[in-house]
Amino acid sequence: MKESLKKNYYKTIGIFALFLVLPSVLKACAVCFSGTEETLWAFYITTLILIILPIAMIVSVVLWLYKKKSASVNQPV
């Protein structure tokens, strides 16, 4: 049992060491590393818009439904 645990321990250390030694940085993103400055800014801004827009729309729909619900509750029977 102790020996198998030792084996697993060394295996883990070996794999971790491989991850430290083997990889190198790959500048693969076409926008971040080979695009122009304008492209980078366009990418950042449109990404921001695409993140904010669905959240804003969903929040608006929920608020609209909540207002409708409040109005229907306050209506006299």
Binding site: T39, W41, T46, L50, L53, P54, V61, L65, Y66, K68
Partner: protein, 207 residues
Amino acid sequence: MKCLTLQNLLVAGEVNLGNRPNRKPIVPSAVFGMVVFIVTEVMFFSGLISAYLIIRSGLEEWPPWGQPRLPIEATAFNTFLLVLSAFAVYRSRNLLLQHKQTKAYKFHLGAITLGVCFLLLQGYEWIQLVKYGMTLSSSVYGALFYLIIGAHGVHVLAALLVMGYGINYFYQTQHQGRISEYLLPIHILWYFVVGIWPLLYALVYLV
């Protein structure tokens, strides 16, 4: 603040739950469904617009050299027609709420006619652009133009078909007095299709 669960907000339909009285939904399912659909379509167009902006920002010259000039003035007139159709729908809706169904029907037909004119004029412009050499494969400029404007055109066509289907409600006597409720999702779709066009026109044609 009460828990904002969807069930809580929508309220079950006209189902009798024992000791609870029947209640009308606070938002008709058709209207809610149309709103959800429009949210997804807004994201679709946002994706197209963001792709357009990113690609365009990477090119020094826009439009690229050798591409035909877009018909800005003719499309401005087209935009006017489309916006007029939205006013026709708005007027039709107001008349329906006043129970003036014959007049509302005329405005509804007018909106459809203006939409058809918009599509036909856009089609004519496209034929001219193709004759001048701007196609989907001629350049990234042509590809983006036909993709974005074409996507909008397909939406206009679909909305026109739905508006045409809405004419049925004016003829069915069992719906008299409630036509405005049945047409509301259709009108919302038309407002969306008209509302997004000025943004696309400004982005693709003007800027």
